[in-house]
C-alpha cells in the first residue's frame, strides 16, 4: 500500500482550506472516514458562494435549503474544527507530516459567550457595504455574515469599526451586548497545526466588470452582475426576494443577460477560459426572474455559444426557450447606452440575419466569469503549488485533484471553473486521495462519536414540543406561522410551542435541546420543510438531548404548503394546521425504537474495468480495502484504450497501461474478467453478490458497490456512416491518426460534424466531450499537415472551461468553424469517384458552402445500453436517457438513494477522462466512508409480529420482498428478521389479523392520522349534533 511506502507514521489529520461547498464536502468525507479535520476559512462563517445563490440549476432547488444541512453537519461534527476567519501563512514538512501555520484573525467577539442576538449589530453606528449582498445594501461593522451562518456568531470588522479607526472611542456594541461577548483585547493568533495532508478548496471570485468601460457597470445602477442578481432574487437578499431594480425599486418588465463578461475574452481581461457555468446560471436566473414577476417579465439572453453540456442541462435550456419564453440571441453586445431621462438601458446588436437592432431594457445582468482571487493565488504560492495559464491550480488529467506539490490536493473552482456537482465530486475525490495517503493513521486522531444516554420515557405521558419555522419568508410569506403555532398549542399533549426564523439553523438546534430540558419534552414536531433533507438534522438534535431519535415528526408546510399554495394564504394556513395536527397525533403514539449494530464486510465490488472502474478499485484498495473488480470483456481498459490524448495533450496509453498494471498487481484487488454480476442480495455493509464468469458462478461478499459500467458510442444511420469508408466516428479518427492511416496522412481536406445523435429529440442531451475531442483532433490534423483544410461544422461549440484555449488554438492554426442550425443540417453526398461532398449553409454569409473532405469525422453521441438489469439488482434508478440517476444532482453526485451503492464514469453521464477519474475517486471516497466504519446500525423502522395474535397463516411470508419473515414450525407463528427487514410495511398491510406492526407507521398511527386530518370536520358534525 502506498501509505506504507511513505515510511513514516502519517498524521491522522487533514487541513481543508476554504469552506464553500467543496471544502465542506471534503471535510465531511474525511471526518466521516476517521480523520480529524481543520477547516480554515477566510470569512467569519463557512458556506462560500453557494450560500449566496438563490436557486441552483437544473433542479431549481433553493441553494441555501440544500446547503444548510451540510453546513450544520460540518459545524457540529465531532471531528471538524472550524477556524474562521483565518488564513494560511506557511507550511513546512512533507506528505504525511506537514506543519501549517495558520493565522486565526481576531473576531473581537467571544464565541463562547455570543448568543447571536444581534444587538451589537443593531447598536453599531457604522454602516458598511454588505459584501455578502454584493454591496446592494449595507451591514454594520459588527455583523454576522448571513442569517443561517455556521458558526452563527457575530464578528467585528476591524477595518471599519469606529473603535479601531478612532482610537478607542464608540464601544456601543460592548455596552449593549447582554452576555459581555465583545472583547476588543483579542488579537490575531498564529497557530502551528500538524496535518498529514492539505486540501485546497478556496474557490473563485466573480469577475469585476468595471473594466468593460462600454457596459458602464460602475456608473449605471441597473447594470448588475449575475451575483448581484442572485442576491436580488434571494428571499434573504436586499429586497426580500421582490424582483426590483436597484435605481428606483421599480419592478422590471424587461431584463437582458449578457454572457461571457470576463470569460473567453483577452481584450478586457486575461481570461481566455470559458467559465463553464454562466450559460446555465443565466438561464436559471431568467427562468426564476420570470417566475418572480407578476406581469410577465420579458427575458433575453445574449450569448456566443450556448454551453449546456451537463446532465439535464440541455432539457433545461429547451424548456426555458420553448415553454418559459426566454429569448436567446446569438451575439456579443458591444456597448450599453443609458436612455436619457429614464433609468433604462439601450443596447445595439447585430442579430443572426445581420440586421442591426436596438433594444431597450429595464435592467441588464452581466454574466460574469470565474477567476481565482489574488489573495488566494498568494496562499497558493505560500503553499508552493503551481498555477496554469488561466491562473487556476495546475493538475494533470490523470490525477485531477493532486496539486503539483505532493500531499496537497485541490478541488472545486480553484482547480478550474466548474459547477457545484463537479466541485462536490472533486471534493470527495480529494478526500479519497488524502485518505489514501493517510490510511495508516485512520482514527488515530479522530474522536469516536459519543453515545448519548437515552432518557427512559416509558412511564411518561406524551409531552410534545412543536417548532414552527418561518424559513425566512419562504413559509411565513404565505402561511400565518404564528397562527399555526398558537393552534398547535391547543392540541392534546402539546406542552410547548415556538416559532423560529430558521428552525434548521445551528442556534435553533441549541434552543430545541434547551426546550426539551426546560419543559421535559419527550416528543418533538417541527413544521418546516421536507423530511427528505432535514429529518436527520433534527433527529440528531433530539438525540443529543437524550431522546430516542424516532420520537420526532417533521411536518412539511413549505414544499407541500407555502410553495404550492402561494396565492391562497388562508387555505394554506388551514392545511398547515391540519398537517400539524396529523403530525402531533402521530408522534404522540410513537414509541422509542431500538437500533442494533451489524458488522460490515470491509470489501468493495466495482463493476466495470474501464478507467473509472480501475481508478475506483485502486482508490479503495490503496485505502486498505479488499476489492472485487468485475469486467465483462477479457481485458481491462475500456474506452480509454481507444483515446490518443487528453484535451491537455497528455498521452492516454501509458496512463492506461500503468493503471492496468497497478490493478492486476495490487494484492487487495481481485480482477474478474469475462464476468458479470447476476444477482445481488443484502444491504449496505452486507451485500452478497453472484458473479458469473463464463458460466461459472462465484459468490462475493462486499460492504459497498461502485457501478462504473461505462457507455457506448452511437452508431449513426446518417451522413453515410458505414456506407462510405471516408466517414469515421471520433474514436475511429483517433485510431486512424494513431495508425497513420493514409486516409488521414494523405488528406488535403478534413471535416468534422458535431452533435451527431446528441441534442436530438430522442436524445435530449449534450454528449459533453465531442466538441473538445473534435477540436483536439482538428489540431492534430493541422499539425500533421498545416496545409490541410480542416472544417468543424457545429451547432454550439462547447469547449467549456479551460478547454476554450484549445478552441482558440485551433482557430489560430487555421481550423475553420462553420455553425449550422439544427433544422438545416449539413448534407453529405457521395460523388461519382467515391469521394464526399458536404454542403452546409454558412450562417454568417447566409450562403451554402460546399466542402469536399477526404475524411469526415462524425462526433457521435455517447449512449448507454441495458443498464436496467444492474439498476434492478441494486434497486437504483435510471433517468429517461438510461443513465444512472444519482441521489441528488447537486450535492450527492456519486451516491444513490440506496445506501452503499455508488456510481462513476460514463454510466452516470458522458464526461471526459479527467472528470471520470475524479468521479471514480469520489465514489471510492464515499464507499470508504461506509467501509471504514466498525459496524452499521439496523433496526428502527422495521416490522414486528405479535406472536400472541399471529395465526400462522403465512400471508406475510409470501409478500415480503426481502425474505425477512420466517414461519417458525414449533411455535406455529411467523417472525421478522429485523436485520433483513427494510421497513416497507407490505406485510403489515397484508396481515388479516393486523398483528404486524410497522414500527413508526403502526395501524393505529395511520388510522389516527387519517382521523385527525378531518378532526375539525368531525367536530363540526358533532357540534351540529
Amino acid at each position: 500500500m502506498k501509505s506504507q511506502q511513505q515510511g513514516t507514521n502519517p498524521v491522522g489529520a487533514v487541513m481543508v482550506v476554504g469552506a464553500g461547498i467543496a471544502g465542506v464536502q471534503a471535510a465531511l468525507d474525511l471526518a466521516d472516514a476517521g480523520f480529524y479535520v481543520y477547516v480554515v476559512e477566510a470569512k467569519p462563517a463557512i458556506g462560500g458562494v453557494m450560500a449566496q445563490l438563490d436557486k441552483t440549476f437544473p433542479t431549481n432547488d433553493c441553494s441555501m435549503c440544500i446547503l444548510s444541512p451540510k453546513l450544520v453537519e460540518c459545524g457540529r461534527h465531532l471531528n471538524i474544527e472550524i477556524l474562521a476567519p483565518a488564513r494560511v501563512q506557511g507550511i513546512i514538512g512533507e506528505p504525511g507530516n506537514f506543519t501549517v501555520t495558520v493565522n486565526q484573525a481576531a473576531r473581537y467577539i467571544d464565541m463562547a459567550k455570543c448568543i447571536a442576538c444581534g444587538l451589537c449589530a443593531e447598536k453599531c453606528p457604522k454602516k458598511v457595504p454588505d459584501a455578502f449582498n454584493q454591496g446592494l445594501i449595507s451591514r454594520k461593522a459588527a455583523y454576522v455574515l448571513y442569517p443561517q451562518a455556521v458558526p452563527l456568531k457575530y464578528a467585528i470588522d476591524p477595518v471599519n469599526c469606529l473603535y479601531f479607526k478612532k482610537g478607542g472611542k464608540c464601544k456601543a456594541c460592548e455596552k449593549f451586548c447582554p452576555t459581555g461577548a465583545v472583547d476588543f483585547s483579542q488579537t490575531d493568533q498564529p497557530r502551528d497545526i500538524q496535518v498529514g495532508a492539505v486540501v485546497l478548496a478556496p474557490g473563485f471570485k466573480p469577475y469585476d466588470p468595471t473594466k468593460y468601460a462600454a457596459y458602464h457597470y460602475a456608473s449605471l445602477p441597473n447594470v448588475v452582475t449575475s451575483m448581484e442578481f442572485e442576491r436580488i432574487l434571494s428571499a434573504s437578499g436586499p429586497y426580500q426576494g421582490h424582483l426590483v431594480r436597484p435605481s428606483d425599486h421599480k419592478e422590471p418588465q424587461k431584463i437582458a443577460w449578457l454572457q461571457c463578461v470576463g470569460s473567453r475574452d483577452l481584450n478586457h481581461c486575461d481570461n481566455s477560459h470559458c467559465s463553464a457555468v454562466c450559460c446555465m446560471y443565466a438561464i436559471k436566473e431568467a427562468v426564476i426572474a420570470k417566475e418572480h414577476s407578476k406581469d410577465g417579465l420579458e427575458a433575453a439572453i445574449f450569448f456566443m455559444d450556448m454551453r449546456t453540456m451537463g446532465k439535464d442541462f440541455e432539457k433545461y435550456y429547451w424548456r426555458a426557450r420553448d415553454e418559459q419564453g426566454v429569448r436567446f440571441i446569438r451575439t456579443r453586445i458591444h456597448s450599453v447606452d443609458p436612455v436619457p431621462g429614464t433609468d433604462d438601458l439601450s443596447i445595439r446588436y447585430l442579430d443572426e440575419d445581420g440586421t442591426l437592432r436596438a433594444e431597450t431594457f429595464d435592467m441588464l445582468v452581466l454574466s460574469v466569469g470565474l477567476e481565482v482571487a489574488p489573495e488566494v493565488l498568494e496562499t497558493g504560492r505560500i503553499l508552493g503549488i503551481d498555477f496554469n495559464a488561466n491562473k487556476f491550480a495546475e493538475t494533470s488529467s490523470f490525477a485531477p485533484v493532486a496539486a503539483t506539490r505532493p500531499g496537497i490536493f485541490v478541488c472545486g473552482a480553484f482547480q478550474g471553473p466548474k459547477d457545484i456537482p463537479q466541485s462536490v465530486m472533486e471534493a470527495s475525490a480529494s478526500a479519497s486521495a488524502a485518505g489514501d495517503l493517510l490510511a495508516a493513521a485512520r482514527f488515530s486522531l479522530a474522536k469516536k462519536k459519543p453515545e448519548f444516554a437515552e432518557r427512559d420515557i416509558s412511564q411518561e405521558t406524551p409531552r410534545i414540543g412543536v417548532f414552527v419555522c418561518h424559513c425566512g419568508i419562504n413559509i411565513a410569506g404565505v402561511i400565518d406561522v404564528e397562527a399555526v403555532r398558537d393552534y398547535a398549542g391547543t392540541l392534546p399533549f402539546v406542552e410547548y410551542v415556538e416559532n423560529n426564523l430558521f428552525t434548521c439553523s445551528q442556534d435553533t438546534q441549541e434552543i430545541i435541546k434547551e426546550r426539551i430540558k426546560e419543559h421535559n419534552l419527550n416528543r418533538i414536531v417541527v413544521a418546516s420543510c421536507t423530511p427528505k433533507t432535514h429529518e436527520p438534522l433534527f433527529q440528531e438534535t433530539i438525540k443529543e438531548a437524550g431522546l430516542n431519535k424516532y420520537l420526532f415528526e417533521l411536518v412539511n408546510i413549505r414544499d407541500q404548503g407555502s410553495w404550492v399554495h402561494m396565492h391562497e394564504p388562508e387555505r394554506a394556513t388551514r392545511r398547515a394546521k391540519d398537517q400539524v395536527r396529523m403530525g402531533v397525533a402521530k408522534v404522540g403514539l410513537q414509541q422509542p425504537l431500538r437500533e442494533f449494530t451489524l458488522p460490515i464486510t470491509k470489501a468493495g465490488l466495482v463493476i466495470g474495468g474501464g478507467a473509472a472502474g480501475m481508478e475506483a478499485a485502486l482508490g479503495l484498495a490503496d485505502q486498505g480495502f479488499k476489492v472485487h473488480l468485475v469486467e465483462k470483456k477479457d481485458f481491462l481498459g475500456g474506452h480509454a484504450l481507444k483515446l490518443n490524448h487528453t484535451w491537455r495533450g497528455e498521452q492516454v496509453k501509458p496512463y492506461v497501461d500503468g493503471l492496468v498494471q497497478r490493478v492486476t498487481k495490487h494484492p487487495q484487488i481481485e480482477v474478474h474478467l469475462n464476468s458479470e454480476v447476476t444477482d445481488v442480495q443484502g444491504f449496505v455493509g452486507n451485500f452478497h453478490s453472484t458473479l458469473s464468469t463464463r458460466g461459472r458462478e462465484v459468490e462475493v461478499e462486499h460492504g459497498a458497490a461502485i457501478i462504473a459500467t461505462g457507455a457506448h458510442s452511437y452508431k449513426p444511420n446518417e451522413y453515410l456512416y458505414k456506407e462510405n469508408p471516408r466517414v469515421l466516428l471520433a474514436l475511429e479518427m483517433d485510431q486512424a491518426i494513431r495508425e497513420k492511416n493514409p486516409l488521414v496522412t494523405t488528406a488535403k481536406c478534413a471535416a468534422f460534424i458535431q452533435c451527431v445523435g446528441s441534442r436530438e429529440p430522442e436524445r435530449p442531451y449534450c454528449s459533453r466531450v465531442c466538441c473538445t475531442h473534435s477540436v483536439e483532433s482538428a489540431i492534430r490534423l493541422k499539425e500533421l499537415n498545416p496545409d490541410m483544410d480542416v472544417y468543424v461544422l457545429y451547432r454550439d461549440l462547447r469547449t467549456y472551461g479551460p478547454r476554450e484555449n484549445l478552441y482558440k488554438e485551433a482557430r489560430e492554426k487555421g481550423v475553420i468553424f462553420i455553425r449550422f442550425h439544427a433544422d438545416d443540417r449539413p448534407q453529405v453526398a457521395q460523388t461519382a469517384d467515391g469521394g464526399l461532398q458536404v454542403t452546409v449553409k454558412d450562417l454568417i454569409l447566409g450562403l451554402p458552402i460546399t466542402i469536399r473532405p477526404d475524411v469526415l469525422t462524425l462526433a457521435s453521441a455517447i449512449i448507454v445500453k441495458e443498464q436496467e438489469k444492474l439498476a434492478k439488482m441494486f434497486k437504483v434508478p435510471l433517468n429517461n436517457e438510461g443513465f444512472f440517476l444519482e441521489a441528488h444532482m447537486k450535492l450527492r453526485p456519486v451516491d444513490f438513494a440506496t445506501e452503499g451503492v455508488f456510481v462513476a464514469g460514463l454510466a452516470h453521464y458522458p464526461k471526459p477522462l479527467d472528470e471520470a477519474i475524479a468521479q471514480a475517486k469520489a465514489a471510492a471516497a464515499r464507499a470508504a466512508v461506509v467501509l471504514s466504519q466498525e459496524s452499521i446500525k439496523a433496526g428502527g423502522v422495521v416490522a414486528s409480529i405479535d406472536p400472541a395474535l399471529c395465526s400462522g397463516c403465512q400471508a406475510c411470508v409470501g409478500v415480503c420482498p426481502f425474505g425477512a419473515i420466517d414461519y417458525k414450525e414449533t411455535e406455529k407463528v411467523c417472525e421478522v428478521n429485523q436485520a433483513l427487514c427494510k421497513g416497507c410495511g407490505t406485510c403489515a398491510a397484508n396481515c388479516p389479523s393486523e398483528c404486524i406492526t410497522l414500527l413508526g407507521f403502526s395501524h393505529k398511527q395511520i388510522y389516527t392520522q387519517i382521523d385527525q386530518a378531518l378532526a375539525e370536520l368531525k367536530m363540526a358534525a358533532e357540534a351540529a349534533g
Partner: protein, 154 residues
C-alpha cells in the same frame, strides 16, 4: 366551522418517489388546490384496504395513493401490491354506494413535480364533479340541491 368541509382529498404518498415528487412540485412552485392532505408512508405497499375505507368513512371525498413507477419501487413491488388492492377496492366501492372514481392509484417519480401537481388537481376536480362523500349527509344534500336533476348520480 367557517371553512367549507368540502372538498377534502387525502393523498397517501410513498417516501421514496411520490413524496419527493410532491416536494419537487413545491420547489418548482407549481400550484395545486390546498384541500389536499398528504400522509407519508414508507411504501404504498404499507397501505391496507381498511385504511382507505376508514378515510372514506370519515368523510374524505377523494383519496389517492401515489407510489413509484412500476419497476422503480424501493421495496421492489410494494407499489404493484398497492395497485392491486386499489383496483380491488374500486370494485367494492360501488357496492358501498361510492363512485370508484373517488379512489385512484398513481405513479409519480421524484422527478415528476408537474405530474404530482396534476394528480392533486385531478383528484380535486373529481371531488367537485362527484360532490361530497355521502357520509357527510348535510353537505351532500346541500350540494345535491344545487345540481341540475339530470346530473344526480345517486
Amino acid at each position: 366551522m367557517k371553512e367549507p368541509e368540502f372538498p377534502r382529498i387525502l393523498g397517501i404518498c410513498c417516501r421514496w418517489c411520490s413524496y419527493a415528487g410532491a416536494d419537487l412540485a413545491g420547489a418548482m412552485r407549481l400550484q395545486y388546490p390546498p384541500e389536499i392532505r398528504i400522509m407519508m408512508v414508507p411504501c404504498t405497499g404499507r397501505v391496507d384496504i381498511l385504511h382507505i375505507l376508514k378515510a372514506f368513512e370519515l368523510g374524505f371525498d377523494t383519496i389517492f395513493l401515489s407510489g413509484c413507477h412500476e419497476g422503480d419501487c424501493h421495496y421492489l413491488a410494494g407499489n404493484i401490491k398497492a395497485k392491486k388492492r386499489v383496483n380491488k377496492l374500486k370494485k367494492d366501492l360501488v357496492a358501498l354506494g361510492l363512485e370508484p372514481e373517488r379512489l385512484e392509484m398513481f405513479h409519480v417519480s421524484s422527478g415528476e413535480g408537474p405530474k404530482f401537481a396534476g394528480v392533486c388537481t385531478e383528484m380535486h376536480e373529481r371531488a367537485l364533479k362527484l360532490g361530497p362523500n355521502p357520509v357527510k349527509r348535510e353537505a351532500r344534500a346541500a350540494w345535491l340541491a344545487t345540481q341540475p336533476r339530470a346530473d344526480i348520480a345517486v
